[in-house]
């Protein structure tokens, strides 16, 4: 019964075209944001991201209380004069931009670090692919040789029974053409094939792992590189499921 009531309320919100965050009144969202800022959980970036998510949160995240607190945390040397007519958020923005250079270098370093990791992963992937190709070729060669030898073996067993002359002579030819000891070679080849297959499965696993790591690093990179104006085209597209202009996509990809 309770689950049903729960579901009803949730679906009522959906029906009224409101998100889940509407179930909390303004003052509770304010408290959440205040608590986050006070415990240094939310930074200026988080507040800006929140303000971009919807109108209501935009309004709530611009409040003076939050930004004054952030100002006192991040720029404690700032002396707020009583003639300050600007909002704390814009004051923060000004101080922040003065500080930008330092931050820019740090972020560039982080991006470079992740990019070098990506480079490393790609290189390893290529290596694994190369070895995979080699191993596959070895496997093919071994299988071909095995086929040939099996034919020789069949021929030699067939010689032991009576056959028409033509076939007999052909088989004799096959057996004589083979210069290696058949039994031993067949065993050796079968072992080699098994070994190759093991190597290949090992390489496939390693490739998958490396791929996963590469994807994770790429995701980290995109998170670190997030910028509202650059990803505007993409977000818009995903929201309205329109085809995005190639320009926007290319711009993000070539960052």
């Amino acid at each position: 019964m309770n689950e049903f009531l729960h579901f009803l309320r949730f679906s009522r919100l959906e029906y009224m075209n409101q998100g889940l965050e509407m179930s909390l009144p303004d003052e509770l969202w304010r408290w959440i944001l205040e608590l986050g800022v006070n415990t240094s959980c939310l930074t200026y970036k988080d507040l800006c991201c929140i303000s971009m998510s919807c109108r209501r949160l935009n309004r709530l995240s611009k409040e003076d209380v939050l930004w004054s607190k952030l100002l006192s945390f991040d720029f404690p040397a700032h002396v707020s004069s009583s003639t300050d007519r600007q909002s704390p958020k814009s004051i923060y923005q000004i101080r922040f931009e003065k500080d930008k250079v330092k931050k820019l270098l740090a972020e560039r370093r982080a991006v470079l670090r992740i990019e070098s990791r990506i480079h490393e992963h790609t290189r390893k992937l290529h290596e694994i692919e190369g070895r995979l190709v080699d191993e596959n070729e070895k496997l093919k060669a071994a299988i071909d040789e095995l086929k040939g030898l099996r034919r020789v073996k069949e021929a030699s067993t067939a010689l032991k029974v009576w056959q028409p002359e033509i076939i007999h002579s052909r088989q004799k030819q096959i057996v004589e053409n083979c210069s290696v000891p058949v039994g031993f070679r067949i065993n050796a080849l079968e072992m080699e094939i098994k070994l190759c297959k093991q190597h290949i499965s090992g390489f496939l696993r390693a490739r998958k792992d490396e791929n996963d790591r590469l994807e994770a690093a790429k995701e980290r990179l995109s998170k670190v590189k997030y910028h509202p104006l650059q990803s505007f085209g993409l977000d818009d597209e995903s929201r309205n499921s329109r085809k995005s202009t190639g320009k926007n996509l290319k711009r993000v990809k070539h960052e």
């Binding site: 729960h6 075209n17 889940l20 408290w31 991201c49």
Partner: protein, 203 residues
């Protein structure tokens, strides 16, 4: 004198002012029968002489929960209701469903049982309890926030709100919208303006 007391009179007193006399069924002075005393007892908000008092809470869907008073007064709202003498039979909580109420009671019980976090073990235990407590789905978490706000339980409110703040931390706007199922109600022009306004934070 006592024979004239009926439920109408009793409801006007807050329990602090109740006469302090023992209700012993065998007390010769009073000379009541057992059934009269049982009836009398049921008209008081709490049993006077016993040390552990229980409060009955009623959720919005009619389910009742019996809790110790010490647990119930973790909630300032309930505490004030008891002090004002409104807790006769049960305290109705029309804004809290039974599912959420049971969770809140679980939280209060744990926090009342744990002694004042002097030992490291108790503190760690409480922390891990809290961490597991908030591992619930979104809408339950929001309901817990609303309940903690309504019942005025500061520690639960702080815990749940901190959880939400942690969920917000480090996310891009699209991820925030996805996490909290927020509808993007900006018009395209508004959206562009908001993004431009906030672009400085990402340079």
């Amino acid at each position: 004198m006592l024979k004239n007391l009926n439920s109408k009179h009793i409801q006007r007193f807050s329990y602090k002012y109740l006469p302090q006399f023992p209700i012993s069924p065998n007390s010769p002075k009073l000379g009541f029968s057992r059934s009269q005393i049982a009836n009398y007892r049921s008209n008081f908000p709490t049993t006077i002489m016993s040390s552990s008092k229980t409060i009955v809470l009623r959720s919005s869907d009619g389910e009742t929960f019996e809790v110790d008073e010490a647990v119930a007064v973790e909630s300032q709202t309930i505490k004030h209701m008891i002090e004002d003498g409104c807790a006769d039979t049960s305290i109705p909580l029309p804004n809290v469903t039974s599912k959420i109420l049971s969770k809140v009671i679980e939280y209060c019980k744990k926090h009342v049982e744990t002694p004042n976090a002097d030992e490291k073990v108790a503190e760690e235990d409480l922390k891990s309890f809290d961490a597991d407590f908030v591992k619930v789905d979104q809408s339950t978490l929001f309901d817990l926030i609303l309940a903690a706000n309504y019942l005025n339980i500061k520690s639960l409110l702080d815990l749940t709100c901190q959880t939400v703040a942690d969920m917000i931390k480090g996310k891009t706007p699209e991820e925030i919208r996805k996490t909290f199922n927020i509808k993007n109600d900006f018009t395209p022009e508004e959206e562009e303006e908001v993004r431009r306004e906030n672009a400085w934070a990402f340079e």
